[in-house]
């Protein structure tokens, strides 16, 4: 819906100046560390098979294409081709994600480090954020002078708040927890285990992370591994970590899966789950699977960080719209 002020930016010009300075700061950080900036296509023949991510479909002269939800797969093709450490700053697209912390088009910073463990990469992410603190507006009183990094295992954080081990919990126990926390009623039916964990973790666990602290949540349940390797000595968990600043989820990283067959099996499992849920099955990225098979991906860790949310924290903005030139309602 257009109104008479729809042409106006959703961010102040002052916020846009800070945004530009922070983007420069990000590039300087990686330049200093010898990480190469790359650009990969936004439009692809393949779409993410992730059950909880939709892709915009675009009709072209050469058939359907999909707007990327993250540049992950083409960047991994570059890694398989030998590009080495690399980063990308780009717009990505996730349909129907709109709210205080969401805009369907947003800026993602994604980078890969060869021979890094996921813990190494989380430490580097914290270093990046700290390097950007001096670029924040001087009048942001919410900004801490330093920003300590505290790591906690997913299951420990969950247990400490809710008294239940998320790995061992049954669907029934989770249902009771959801009900006791006023998050889901029995009349609404049974939530599948991973959905129940998502709701409990986001509403009853991460809500309590300390404000002036970076919290790294490590060792996600294997059922939520996505594209991460499982932990060798603890295969019930994955080498997947998420970084929170206060209660805001900023970044998600993996010790990257490099096994082509395992990767194909996970894509196929996604599509089976999509079909069972009545969602469309998505075309898998065959070029990526080929790259894993033929090129071979180096041992590496990768992480994706929501740049607009980082801007919100640095600029002390209440809404994601306040740090982007034009939000979806003005686009």
């Amino acid at each position: 819906m257009f109104t008479s002020d729809s042409w106006q930016p959703s961010a102040s010009i002052e916020a846009l100046r800070h945004r530009a300075r922070i983007l420069q700061g990000i590039r300087a950080f990686f330049d200093e560390r010898g990480v190469l900036e790359v650009n990969t296509p936004s439009l692809s023949r393949a779409a993410t098979t992730d059950v909880h991510l939709d892709s915009y479909r675009v009709e072209t002269d050469s058939g359907p294409r999909y707007l990327h939800t993250s540049p992950e797969l083409p960047m991994k093709r570059l890694l398989a081709a030998g590009v080495g450490d690399c980063y990308q700053l780009c717009a990505v697209f996730r349909p129907s994600e709109q709210g205080r912390y969401h805009n369907p088009e947003f800026t993602l910073l994604e980078w890969y480090r060869t021979a890094y463990s996921i813990d190494d990469l989380i430490v580097e992410t914290a270093a990046l954020i700290r390097a950007l603190l001096p670029l924040a507006p001087a009048d942001n009183s919410a900004l801490p002078a330093d920003l300590p990094l505290v790591s906690v295992r997913y299951s420990d954080a969950f247990k400490a708040r809710l008294g239940l081990c998320p790995l061992a919990a049954t669907e029934h126990e989770l249902q009771t927890l959801l009900h006791d926390n006023g998050l889901w009623s029995k009349e609404q039916g049974i939530l599948p285990k991973d959905s129940a964990l998502d709701l409990l973790f986001s509403q009853a666990v991460s809500r309590h992370f300390p404000e002036r602290q970076l919290t790294a949540v490590t060792h996600y349940p294997a059922s939520q591994a996505a594209l991460a390797q499982l932990t060798p000595d603890d295969p019930a968990t994955a080498q997947r970590s998420e970084l929170y600043w206060g209660q805001v989820e900023l970044a998600n990283g993996f010790k990257e899966l490099t096994d082509a067959d395992e990767q194909r099996a996970r894509f196929e499992a996604d599509n089976r789950e999509r079909k069972a849920k009545g969602l469309i099955e998505q075309p898998m990225d065959e070029c990526f699977l080929q790259a894993l098979k033929q090129g071979g991906m180096p041992d590496c860790s990768g992480i994706a960080l929501g740049v607009d949310r980082l801007m919100m924290k640095l600029l002390d903005a209440d809404q994601i719209q306040a740090v982007m030139a034009f939000d979806a309602s003005r686009a």
Binding site: H52, S96, Q98, Y101, L183, D194, S195, D198, Q203
Partner: protein, 190 residues
């Protein structure tokens, strides 16, 4: 039956929950980077005014509530129903005591109110923000006493009791804010 997807959720949207009409007062998308998306909403029960939290899986469909806010003039009460008229169509509706609830103490004949209709039936009534009511009972006024802060109770024509300055007398007309139930000033005769 009309319905809304959670993607259409926004403040003010009227939806049905467990057979009652609700108004969305807050909507937040909860979407982990990887994982199931939910909408956490705060909704107000339009019959009771109670606000509760509710969670939906994103993409879920929720039945729309056929609820309309209509400007109507208050006519009279027979003790069982409070009667209102649409000044455009002259259609009349009777609101029950539970629908007028606390608003009834501010209802003065001919005042224009917002009547919320659900399937054509009144479920709540909002009086004007400001009403002018006559004092029917208060202790004798102390003329000239305009000292700040000192108050006494006064009953007005609709039966409501408000705290008023000491100089207010029986028969005075008072301007009252119905949202706070507080005295604003004395009002002049029409």
């Amino acid at each position: 039956m009309a319905s809304f997807s959670t993607n259409e959720f926004k403040n003010g949207l009227k939806i049905m929950i467990d057979g009652d009409p609700y108004n969305i007062v807050e909507n937040e998308l909860v979407k982990p980077g990887k994982g199931q998306a939910f909408n956490r909403v705060k909704v107000r029960n339009l019959k009771t005014g109670k606000v509760v939290d509710k969670t939906y899986k994103s993409g879920e469909k929720v039945e729309a509530a056929d609820v309309m806010d209509t400007e109507m003039d208050y006519l009279y009460t027979d003790g069982e129903f409070w009667n209102f008229m649409d000044p455009n169509t002259f259609e009349q509706v009777g609101a029950s005591e539970s629908a007028v609830a606390d608003s009834k103490q501010w209802l003065k004949e001919q005042d224009s109110c917002i009547v919320t209709l659900w399937n054509g039936e009144p479920i709540s009534v909002l009086p004007p923000n400001h009403v002018v009511l006559e004092v029917t009972q208060t202790d004798p006024g102390i003329r000239g006493d305009t000292a700040q802060g000192a108050t006494k109770p006064a009953t007005v024509e609709t039966g409501a009791t408000v705290q008023v300055p000491l100089f207010v007398d029986n028969g005075d007309l008072l301007k009252i804010d119905t949202r706070t139930g507080k005295y604003i000033s004395r009002a002049k005769e029409d």
